[in-house]
């Protein structure tokens, strides 16, 4: 009896480690979002920063869908392909093997389609809006926000939507790193 109670307590203790996973995620406040999405640059005018941003956008193969010089707004769009992660591929392979085994090899054809799907990359549509505004006489700030649509393509069927949302913070860090480089090139007049 004591042994069972001890096992039960150990189980509860171990299970409690999973609790943070179920915790309600805090929604980022407007200020938190702005902190991630905004960076300040020392430029002579809004146009200069806009030109810098446009160069970075072109380097990244984005297509401009809206440009407003008065409001210093640019909206761009890009379509790209991203390979499925190793974990997803492993899942597909495990499923295919189990299915083939369970059907005594008859389901190998279906399993083969799954394996092909595992190697079909995700199709991503990414829209980005850039907003440049004056901060002081010598400083301008640029703010970007994104919307990323991920489609899970399957062999022989149309692309189905998998997720919609903002890109992760790494995207903003990468973008601003490229902007820093562009700022350096701009200052060197290269």
């Amino acid at each position: 009896m004591k042994r069972k109670a001890a096992l039960f307590l150990i189980f509860i203790f171990v299970f409690s480690f999973h609790a943070p996973v179920f915790a309600k995620k805090e929604v980022a406040s407007a200020l938190d979002k702005r902190a991630v999405q905004t960076k300040t640059y020392d430029t002579k005018s809004e146009n200069e920063l806009m030109k810098m941003a446009l160069n970075v956008i072109q380097d990244e193969d984005y297509k401009i869908i809206n440009l407003d010089n008065d409001l210093s707004l640019i909206t761009v769009n890009k379509q790209l392909r991203k390979p499925r992660s190793l974990a997803v591929k492993m899942g597909y392979y495990t499923g295919a093997l189990l299915y083939t085994g369970a059907t005594f090899g008859i389901g190998a054809i279906v399993a083969w389609v799954w394996i092909k799907d595992a190697h079909t990359p995700y199709y991503i549509e990414r829209d980005v809006t850039l907003n440049v505004s004056d901060l002081s006489k010598d400083q301008r700030k640029i703010r970007i926000n994104t919307l990323e649509k991920v489609f899970a393509t399957n062999t022989g069927s149309p692309k189905m939507i998998k997720s919609i949302g903002e890109t992760n913070d790494t995207f903003y860090q990468d973008f601003f790193t490229k902007m820093d480089k562009e700022s350096f090139i701009n200052k060197q007049d290269l």
């Binding site: 809206n66 409001l71 926000n145 994104t146 692309k159 949302g165």
Partner: protein, 156 residues
């Protein structure tokens, strides 16, 4: 006798359901306009438009159309919303318009539509377009605009 009582009780319970079938009063054009409009006193139109763009960005919208001279900004947002069972991809589209009232006073009007999206990510048919007429929806937008104007003034 027992059957009669059952019949009377059934009638009563049906009468209780009547309010559910009552025709809901739709808001008049003036009421809708009142919900969608606020007046702001700012230095210039650009300050207000920049604050509006920031509010839309805060709320996850992307700008697909803007015209400074006409004071118009259009944006859209696509997201996943929870429903009773499962979830649904939706697309919100908004237009914000600014009209100058006098020297420093500007009238801001906004409207939204919500479209349900199919599994392929396309906004689905006309019947799925819903107009969020709830006052709360617009109140939140204008509250965010107030905050944004404050933040802009503080230079944050």
């Amino acid at each position: 006798m027992f059957k009669k009582i059952i019949l009377i009780l059934a009638c009563f319970s049906l009468i209780g359901c009547l309010p559910a079938f009552a025709e809901k009063e739709s808001a008049t054009a003036l009421e809708i306009r009142q919900m969608q409009t606020r007046t702001y006193e700012v230095k210039n139109q650009k300050q207000l438009m920049e604050a509006m763009v920031n509010v839309l960005q805060d709320r996850g919208y992307l700008i697909n159309e803007s015209n400074y001279n006409l004071g118009v900004i259009s944006g859209y947002k696509e997201c996943k919303e929870k429903r009773f069972l499962g979830s649904q991809f939706v697309r919100y589209e908004t237009s914000v318009q600014i009209n100058q009232q006098n020297n420093k006073s500007y009238k801001v009007r906004t409207n939204y539509i919500k479209k349900l999206m199919d599994v392929y990510g396309n906004p689905s048919t006309q019947k799925d377009i819903k107009i969020p007429e709830q006052e709360q929806f617009y109140r939140e937008f204008f509250s965010d605009l107030d905050k944004s104007l404050f933040i802009e003034k503080q230079g944050i």
